[in-house]
Symmetry: D2
């Protein structure tokens, strides 16, 4: 409840790093940078706005697949839960914006990708999403 | 203004089809299916909920890259603007949910991908955000 | 899992109607209309785009508070889970976009409001988040 | 482009303060706190997770209406553009999460509200969407 789900489109700003927790769970972390662009009517051109940085964390299968798929500088679409984290270390307060990623992928508005399904989910191998082949989209002329 | 931006995580339910408009713009369409899952406390297991279908449309570079990258059945993360479209054809009303995609990628929680940047935007190769200068400021086809 | 959360800013298009289910749960329904606006660079003016309609459903405390607060024509911000519902009635297929509202409020970019907290949640009056203990744990994967 | 739109459901954590910029534009600021809740399966109860704080800024009509409508402690639904802002002040780096609000309202899952439309936009009173014609097409303060 009260979860703040968001989607960020940006670029990988640090090489993803993968660790295994004491309980044996993989977690991968990296920084993601996103820069807004807006149309400057006076100049008649697009200009960059400020850049925001996020710390993205991913767990389990997603952590492993990021490790095998994502490199520094690549463009991503990242969906996950946002947390604004405040910590105090040696008397100083640190704030960071952290995304616990649920799903993410390379942004195909910026390039092409070749995808291979991994069988990391033996519990539901046949149709994880459960999406049946739909009837023809008759509602769409 | 008043745009309804959403992100859908689902599976490609029809083979993507690409066309070129009279003005020379590429557009790719496909159906996307997403099925919710929830934990059934009584049974102690996850069960599938209902499936929703969307018509996804993409334009220009994204249209071409989808054509070269995305196949029927693959899992995607899709971000775009939602429109609930009502049309009347031969006296019958048809409703569909249409997403004008801004960014989308293969969902790496489900597999691995190898990404190659396409150089469709030589004007802005150095920028951290790397966002291509869009051809029209209104950005709403 | 795979829930599609979205936020729609629009106007109440039908008078909200409240019912009580067989199990004693209040549910309120209404239609919500949202019209995009875009800047037409050629004409140098804003113009209306297409209008999308949603069926909004709300449950329990939210259902009752909508009944006591929301009228036809009022502007709202609605956050909830989207479902594209397909039904067949007498051999004809019907599609609708349905939002199960989690939170919603009058859009203060359009007017002013006077708010009064209702004490429907005596179990947790002190918490900063103040979120009522929801009756069903299954909603959080 | 590349804007990060999000919706946060939370409580007003500081009294809203309104100022007028040198160019005569009203801006209202306040802090918003949101606390996640999750179901603890072991304990069989809901527990609070961490709290995230945001700085919300609103402009023009929305700024004025917040000033006249919103008090410390009230629950809100806030939609806007997120920016993770980094600043260096006297050699120390400060990070904050800032939302430029587009629309916001009292969360009716928590109470009731009486709404009155303000007539700040006589140019467009008839439209279904009723969206005010915004003063600047770039729409990114």
């Amino acid at each position: 409840m009260n979860e703040t789900l968001l989607t960020v489109v940006g670029n990988v700003a640090t090489e993803p790093e993968t660790q295994v927790t004491a309980t044996g769970v993989s977690v991968t972390r990296f920084r993601l940078a996103t820069t807004t662009r807006r149309f400057d009517a006076e100049r008649g051109a697009w200009t960059d706005g400020p850049t925001s940085f996020y710390t993205v964390r991913a767990w389990r299968a997603l952590a492993g697949n990021i490790k095998d798929s994502v490199c520094l500088g690549e463009p991503l679409v990242v969906q996950g839960r946002l947390r604004i984290r405040e910590e105090e270390v040696e008397g100083r307060r640190f704030v960071s914006a952290e995304i616990d990623a649920q799903s993410l992928g390379h942004d195909l508005s910026r390039g092409v990708a070749r995808f291979t399904r991994t069988h990391s989910n033996p519990a539901a191998p046949r149709r994880q999403s459960g999406a049946p082949a739909p009837p023809q989209p008759t509602a769409v002329p």
